[in-house]
């Protein structure tokens, strides 16, 4: 029975230990097939050891050049800030108009409270609106302003003197028809 090809290769490399190597030597002496296999392996080994490999760099470079010549050169991807965007001119005009409009509105809104003014305007529905712009920056100041206005609008009625008025119940309020028993004048 012939040994495996790998065993013959291992024998050639000196990796088969005694006493198995002697058995392989005896088999090679009696088997022509294994002897020729051993001879081919030994020849291959000799060639690999003695002959240097051909220089493959030059052919590889030629292949690369040929491939580059066939494929178009790849463009460099531009950066975000280098990209160009195509926008229709009317859109640019509209955006510019909006920016201008809101800018003017902001400036007017910013300046209006600083310029104390009273504006009387007429609404489309027919009502009248009075706008009073004053430099009121704090809510407390605003409340004080409103409170002062209420106080100024307060009427005072002096009840009769030397008359002790006594409460007879909780305050009541309603239409005159709800107090039929009270004789009103």
């Amino acid at each position: 029975m012939c040994p495996d090809r790998q065993i013959v290769s291992a024998f050639l490399d000196g990796e088969i230990e005694s006493p198995w190597d002697k058995a392989i030597v005896e088999h090679l002496a009696s088997c022509q097939t294994c002897r020729s296999l051993h001879a081919r392996l030994a020849e291959t080994r000799r060639i690999l050891r003695e002959e240097s490999l051909a220089d493959w760099h030059a052919p590889m470079e030629r292949v690369r050049r040929a491939l580059r010549a066939q494929t178009p050169p790849q463009r460099r991807e531009p950066a975000v800030w280098e990209r160009r965007v195509s926008v229709p001119l009317p859109v640019v005009a509209l955006v510019a108009a909006l920016v201008l409009f809101f800018g003017i509105t902001l400036v007017v809104a910013e300046l209006r409270p600083r310029v104390g003014l009273v504006r009387i305007t007429k609404a489309p529905a027919g009502g009248t609106e009075i706008q009073i712009s004053a430099p009121i920056s704090e809510l407390e100041t605003l409340l004080k302003s409103v409170g002062a206005e209420d106080t100024a609008r307060e009427d005072v009625i002096l009840l009769p003197k030397n008359m002790r008025l006594l409460p007879v119940g909780e305050p009541r309020m309603g239409k005159a028809a709800e107090f039929p028993k009270v004789k009103t004048w």
Binding site: D150, L159, K181
Partner: protein
């Protein structure tokens, strides 16, 4: 030519946007005043002290002009009592008035060294000229009236303000 028109577009759009606020149009102050007076309300507040079954022994009246939504305040001061009345009339779509009225009473007990406070708040739908009564010290019963307790009555009456007609020269 097209480019010139396009260049004018932002200016025209801005002008159009500025013109899109008709309420910002300035109005003649005299015209605005007339418009205010046409919406004005005349609120009459009459306070009375009513002995039982007798004519008022005291009365006072205050008439004020106001606008719908603007409150008027009346304060009534007595020796031992202070009464606040805040009236805010709103004109409804039906033409009637919704009166929001708040009454506050500060009362000093004659014998006790303390002050009592009570308040009432009502929203009353009324017609123009319809009387609303406010009894800040309560409504005395017949028995109490027989003992001489008087009622303090405050009458609220709201009518549209009528501008005085200018006298015609003969």
């Amino acid at each position: 030519m097209v480019r010139r028109r396009v260049a004018l577009a932002p200016l025209l759009l801005t002008l159009a946007a500025l013109q899109a606020h008709p309420e910002d149009r300035e109005q003649d102050p005299k015209e605005a005043l007339q418009s205010l007076l046409s919406n004005a309300l005349q609120v009459t507040i009459a306070a009375r002290v009513l002995p039982p079954d007798e004519k008022p022994i005291w009365n006072a009246e205050s008439t004020k002009l106001t606008l719908p939504g603007r409150s008027i305040r009346v304060r009534m001061d007595g020796d031992n009592v202070r009464i606040y009345l805040v009236c805010t009339p709103y004109v409804q779509d039906s033409g009637n008035v919704l009166l929001l009225a708040q009454g506050q009473v500060w009362f000093a007990e004659p014998t006790e060294n303390e002050v009592k406070y009570s308040s009432t708040f009502s929203s009353i739908p009324v017609s123009f000229g319809e009387k609303v009564l406010f009894f800040p010290l309560g409504v005395s019963s017949e028995e109490a009236q027989q003992k001489g307790v008087v009622n303090v009555e405050v009458e609220i009456n709201i009518v549209p303000y009528k501008q005085p007609q200018p006298q015609q020269q003969p």
